[in-house]
């Protein structure tokens, strides 16, 4: 028997969700819809009575204060039965569109509903499916309805439109049972063309050299590989898992002093990023580039770990699910660091095309940036908030070139007891998979993200898209830390890209393992042995457990209803042996799997774009220009996004993402205090600027490091205790110009990190961020994200960016140069320029150290770093965030430029600069501390509503009310 139940808000209750959907419809320019109501639909498959259904409606599914319900019974043939409530009265001139998840897509509500029914004693229930019915009032044409359905209500990758409610179909579509059939791939006799075909057809993304090496291996064994073996190799050798571009050889052509030069780089990672960390050699680095996350010392009991990941490809196709599982994945990285860390805060950085991009400029097969942004933000919001991890810091960068490939960086920080950092698998330890069940979701995620996206991606790769279940992960977190503290396991890692294949493969690298695949708990029947092995279903962890502890271990997990299952053991045979129902489906030597990959040489070249001297037109009204820069999407307020994230859960927030008298100004770094009974804190910040990279990736890298570090200095941090992470998102590295710019950026990382003595502790790369449509390829601008983490000794000494008191003195610390290249100022003129900001780490170090000292001594009331928009934007933000006016002059500021122009001084984005507010009582002491660094007195904070700047000639060059400036800054993304 099927019961279809509809739940609807009573007429007098405001439908907030419907109103939100209506706003999205209006955003599409469709005015023929006057209102939207959302009806929740449940279909229950179970032998339950009408009275039980009524109870379920009354006590579980509908809230009688605000909702009504209607139900109808169907038999298994799909015919409607007599037993129905009176249906809802139909709304006149309304359309209804019903959407449901595709079979196999995870919907946690179904599981909760079954639990809720059981609590009410309503059993047996075999299955529950949910759907949403949208009732649209108005006179829309069928074409308009089609647009609304596809652009607002539905993502066809994971959902479908329910044409006619037919419960039997709702369930019948679940995947059918398949009989076991061991498949061999005809490899050993294959010629070149067939090898290529096997790789392409199997979505293996292996090149010919690699296929040949694999062929050789199996020829020696005198047998063909099983599909499972081939997949395992493809996963392990994928760009995503192996990072073969960074670890391979690169023939790099470049120019030096006008001469063409070539050099071969062996292992880009080791010769730049890693080398910097080794040379800097900080004693507080506990574990770098070794585990899931970098680990540094925190206090006498604990260390902190930090990891940032990307989830770009999935977010392009299904923004909500992509971002959702992106954050879920990086949180699992932290859970799988050492013997497991406790997540304490998250950071998120996104790159999108501008939200006002005309629909006609959208390449076929891509989603509109506004929809991507909405989906990504909700995905991060729902995962982070539901896990109870504050999202404390982030950034959003807009550029047209992200239209086919948005970037979604998700980061997480964890706290781990000092004695839980090392893990070691022992022969005989059992392999346990814990957490979510395994389904067909995310098949081929690792290999899929190692290729370019095309118009066809949404069809081919639909399996790579998933939706997360944060509550499952929270349950895992809760029991995991209990089991960790009881010392019940010896090692742990997360199931991410590549699924069990990657997790077990990695843990068993030294020893070898045997797994019985039929023991893996499944979401539904019908998965093949290979699908079980490579599925990327979320919320799973793999652990190694000594047999003597296994019962205790399983009990801890069972006590809070978290599934944990023994699926095999670590053997000591140095082989990866997989079985399914007793038959061997994989037998590979670990040595070949992990070290067999042929070392490739890729071509790279870098040519400096020609330095054309740019005539920058003189701007008559600089105040108007300032408002224009404040309104630029990259500068304007992101409050509508920030407020959707819980940035305060766990109670540790000290500097929140928004600061100021009305808590709406843009903070620099965020600071959290992970232990509420201690004053020690952690500062987190990000540096990103792809516009600089369009001119020179070397100086982009340098600027990103400078920005991330100076934001921590700006809140009162200490540069002796800052570590950084790199995250490279680039185009196709098989194209020499893309790879050349990547090399150049990596070199910038090395030089600057060593210059500032800030070590890299972890990193990640996501390559192949290109969107191909026909013959045209859109590559993202090479984008480097530098994330920084700093230890704060006493959080009560932290400083925020808002002006505090009228009468205080304003200084600019650091030098301004003629460096408008890549600036937002030029962006408003649709120019990019060439004089990209550079970094002088020797001078920068002196500035950072002096300013930290001044902050620690309590001589400063506010500090704000100058980044996008330069001095003008920083000064305006400090003023309107503090609700205080400014009278400032430019003529005393350190300024190096052949052409002395107010606009260059105000809007250049030179590095290592701050604006600082100092109480007149501390003026002398402050200046004494700064005696060895460039600074200039700029003016005073005033108890007015006015923002006034006198130019180099002593005349007023900018005058505006605070309210106008703030409105320009707040309005673009008010939401």
């Amino acid at each position: 028997m099927f019961w279809r139940i509809e739940i609807k808000l009573k007429e007098n209750i405001f439908d907030a969700l419907g109103a939100g959907i209506h706003r999205s419809v209006l955003d599409l320019g469709i005015r023929t819809i006057s209102g939207v109501k959302v009806i929740q639909v449940y279909t229950i498959d179970g032998r339950i009575s009408e009275v039980q259904v009524q109870t379920a409606c009354r006590e579980l599914l509908a809230d009688h204060i605000t909702q009504d319900y209607a139900y109808a019974a169907y038999d298994h043939a799909g015919d409607k039965k007599e037993r129905s409530s009176s249906p809802f009265s139909a709304t006149e001139s309304a359309f209804s569109i019903e959407t449901a998840y595709n079979p196999g897509v995870m919907d946690p509500v179904e599981r909760s509903t079954i639990k809720g029914l059981r609590d009410l004693g309503i059993e047996p229930v075999d299955a529950v499916r949910t759907a949403k019915k949208y009732v649209l009032r108005g006179t829309a044409s069928s074409k308009e309805l089609h647009i609304i359905t596809n652009k607002v209500l539905l993502n066809k990758l994971i959902q479908h439109v329910v044409q006619e409610p037919c419960p039997q179909k709702t369930f019948a579509a679940s995947p059918a049972q398949r009989s076991f059939n061991l498949i061999y791939v005809d490899l050993i006799k294959a010629g070149v063309r067939q090898l290529k075909k096997i790789s392409k057809d199997g979505q293996l993304y292996l090149n010919l050299d690699e296929m040949t090496v694999i062929q050789k291996y199996f020829r020696k064994l005198k047998r063909n590989p099983t599909d499972c073996e081939l997949e395992t190799i493809a996963q392990t050798w994928s760009e995503h898992c192996y990072h073969k571009t960074f670890r391979g050889n690169i023939r790099y052509q470049y120019q030096e002093n006008g001469q063409k030069k070539t050099k071969v780089i062996r292992n880009l990672l080791k010769s730049t990023i890693f080398k910097a960390t080794q040379e800097i050699n900080k004693s507080w680095c506990v574990s770098v580039f070794h585990d899931n996350a970098g680990v540094i010392k925190f206090d006498k009991d604990s260390h902190v770990c930090f990891k940032v990941e990307t989830h770009n490809h999935p977010s392009a196709l299904e923004p909500y699910g992509g971002a959702n599982t992106g954050l879920g994945g990086v949180i699992r990285d932290i859970l799988g660091t050492g013997l497991g860390a406790k997540p304490i805060c998250s950071t998120d950085v996104f790159c999108f095309a501008p939200p006002d991009l005309p629909f006609k400029d959208l390449p076929a097969g891509t989603l509109h940036p506004k929809r991507i942004m909405k989906g990504v933000v909700s995905g991060v919001r729902d995962y982070g908030n539901k896990m109870g991890i504050p999202t404390v810091n982030g950034a959003i960068v807009f550029d047209k070139k992200f239209v086919g490939n948005p970037l979604v960086y998700c980061g997480n920080v964890g706290l781990i007891p000092k004695d839980r950092v090392r893990k070691k698998v022992h022969p005989g330890d059992l392999i346990v998979v814990a957490g979510g069940k395994t389904g067909r979701d995310g098949i081929h995620g690792a290999t899929f993200s190692s290729g370019e996206l095309t118009e066809q991606s949404e069809v081919i790769s639909s399996g790579a898209v998933q939706i997360g279940d944060p509550i499952e992960e929270k349950k895992v977190l809760d029991v995991l830390l209990q089991a960790r503290d009881l010392n019940l396991y010896t090692a742990i890692t997360d199931c991410g890209a590549g699924g069990l294949s990657s997790a077990v493969g990695e843990m068993a690298k030294e020893l070898g393992a045997r797994v019985d695949l039929e023991k893996v708990p499944l979401k539904y029947e019908g998965l093949s042995y290979m699908e079980i092995w490579i599925s990327e279903s979320q919320e799973r962890m793999v652990l190694s457990v000594n047999p003597k502890n296994i019962q205790k271990f399983l009990n801890v997990f069972a006590s809070e209803n978290v599934e944990a299952t023994v699926i095999g053991a670590f053997t000591g045979s140095q082989r990866l042996e997989l079985f399914y129902q007793g038959r061997q489906v994989c037998d590979l030597a670990m040595g070949f799997l992990h070290d067999g990959i042929p070392n490739l040489t890729k071509e790279a070249c870098w040519t400096q774009p020609r330095q054309r001297s740019l005539r920058i037109p003189v701007t008559r009204d600089l105040a108007k220009k300032l408002r224009e820069v404040l309104s630029h999407y990259n500068v304007c307020s992101k409050e509508s996004v920030v407020r959707q994230y819980d940035h305060e859960v766990q109670g540790g927030s000290v500097i929140k993402p928004l600061s100021g008298v009305n808590a709406d100004g843009p903070s620099d770094a965020s600071v959290v205090r992970p232990r509420l009974d201690s004053l020690k804190g952690i500062a987190v910040s990000n540096g990103i600027n792809p516009r600089f990279g369009m001119i020179d990736p070397f100086w982009m890298a340098a600027s990103c490091i400078d920005e991330a570090v100076r934001q921590i200095i700006a809140v009162g941090g200490d540069m002796e205790k800052i570590a950084i992470l790199d995250n490279f998102c680039w185009g196709n590295p098989d194209k020499p110009d893309r790879l050349g710019s990547l090399v150049r950026a990596a070199q910038g990382c090395y030089k600057t990190a060593v210059g500032y003595q800030v070590p890299f502790i972890s990193g990640k790369d996501s390559l192949y961020n290109e969107y191909t449509q026909g013959k045209k390829s859109i590559a993202i601008p090479g984008t480097l994200l530098i994330s920084a983490i700093g230890i704060i000794e006493d959080v009560t000494q932290c400083v925020t960016m808002d002006f505090k008191k009228a009468g205080n003195v304003i200084y600019v610390v650091g030098e301004t140069k003629d460096e408008l290249g890549g600036s937002i100022f030029l962006a408003t003129l649709d120019l990019i320029g060439s004089t990209v900001p550079r970094v002088d780490t020797e001078k920068g170090t002196r500035i950072f150290k002096a300013l930290s000292r001044a902050a620690r001594k309590g001589f400063v009331r506010s500090i704000h770093d100058c980044s996008e928009g330069g001095i003008a934007v920083a000064l305006a933000e400090m003023a309107f965030s503090g609700g205080l006016g400014v009278r400032a002059r430019l003529d005393r500021l350190p300024f190096y430029s052949e052409e002395k122009r107010d606009d260059k001084l105000l809007f250049s984005e030179s590095n290592s600069r701050f604006i600082v507010e100092v109480d007149p009582d501390h003026q002398k002491s402050f200046e004494r501390i700064l005696k060895d660094v460039p600074f200039g007195m700029m003016g005073h904070v005033e108890a007015t509503e006015e923002f006034v700047v006198y130019g180099l000639n002593g005349e007023i060059c900018m005058k505006s009310s605070l309210r106008d400036l703030k409105e320009s800054w707040q309005s673009p993304l008010r939401g």
């Binding site: 209750i13 405001f14 907030a16 969700l17 109103a19 939100g20 006590e59 579980l60 599914l61 809230d63 009688h64 204060i65 605000t66 946690p108 509500v109 599981r111 909760s112 639990k115 809720g116 609590d119 009410l120 909700s378 919001r381 908030n385 539901k386 896990m387 109870g388 279940d469 944060p470 509550i471 929270k474 349950k475 006590s559 209803n561 407020r643 959707q644 994230y645 819980d646 940035h647 305060e648 859960v649 766990q650 109670g651 000290v654 929140k656 928004l658 600061s659 008298v661 808590a663 509420l676 009974d677 201690s678 004053l679 959080v795 009560t796 932290c798 925020t800 808002d802 505090k804 506010s862």
Partner: protein
């Protein structure tokens, strides 16, 4: 041990503000256990051992179907007797954010209005919390005006400033009669207001709650539920603009609520001497 105020913080799948709520009670001198609901189900822990039941914020069971609904049903159907006894014994309860949603949906708030309604056969739900008018989750700070005569709000005369962080916080009473009872009985504990105590506009009332209601109590005032998070303004560095304030003030506006609960138990249940003003939490001394 007998002399100590004992707090049970109830935990289940999706609970997430338990640690900071525990910190708040502990800083007020209470003994705190964070207990998974399964332990109450299988009787390895007994509710009657405690004086205060706190249901913290979070997303229990993912807020699937409706916020707080599944946990509310568990309390009602599986722990109903124990909970009724707990209330009869004159003990205290507090539900914060998701905990408030749970108490309302379980019918524990606003609870019975008259003696006849005290009949134990059902808990009846008379109000609910629905989607914010904005349609989405929001984290922001709000001013609250204190009303009523709950033991939890004693001595709070001025307004308090604490954050909300929720998507389903719009308070809706069943009808005018329920609203009138709440007002008449002094069961409205907190209302959203403007920075000077004036009638709020959005976002000062962040969700569109009827009569600007942010928190209510039962008729005895011993059970408190509220959407805003007092445990998130327990120490001064949690204030969103503490860098503008006098640093000598160590405690946040929410602290008094926890202190009131603990002091009430000490005075009325344990009948021990009051301890002086609570420890200087957040000064690094801990406890």
């Amino acid at each position: 041990m007998n002399e100590q105020v004992k707090v049970i913080i109830l935990r289940t799948a999706g609970t997430n503000c338990n640690e900071e709520t525990a910190f708040a009670f502990r800083s007020c001198g209470a003994w705190v256990d964070q207990v998974h609901i399964h332990k109450l189900f299988n009787s390895s822990v007994h509710l009657k051992e405690y004086h205060i039941l706190a249901i913290p914020g979070g997303f229990t069971y993912g807020d699937d179907i409706e916020s707080g609904r599944i946990l509310a049903n568990e309390l009602r159907l599986r722990l109903g007797g124990d909970i009724r006894q707990f209330i009869e014994d004159g003990k205290l309860m507090i539900g914060i954010c998701n905990g408030f949603q749970v108490l309302v949906k379980a019918g524990l708030l606003p609870g019975p209005f008259s003696e006849e309604e005290r009949h134990p056969s059902t808990f009846s739900q008379r109000a609910t919390l629905v989607n914010n008018d904005s349609g989405h989750y929001e984290d922001r700070w709000v001013y609250l005006k204190v009303d009523g005569k709950s033991v939890w709000t004693r001595g709070i005369e001025r307004m308090i400033y604490i954050p909300v962080a929720h998507g389903e916080g719009k308070f809706v009473p069943r009808d005018q009669d329920v609203l009138a009872q709440l007002q008449g009985n002094g069961q409205v504990a907190f209302r959203y207001c403007g920075p000077n105590g004036e009638k709020p506009e959005f976002p000062q009332n962040p969700n569109g709650s009827v009569d600007d209601i942010a928190g209510i109590t039962d008729k005895t005032g011993r059970i408190l539920g509220l959407m805003p998070h007092p445990e998130r303004h327990f120490v001064f560095t949690q204030h969103p603009s503490w860098t503008r304030l006098d640093k000598k003030q160590h405690l946040g506006d929410g602290a008094k609520i926890f202190e009131n609960g603990v002091q009430y138990v000490r005075k009325n249940i344990l009948k021990t001497a009051l301890i002086p003003r609570l420890l200087a939490a957040g000064t690094g001394k801990g406890q």
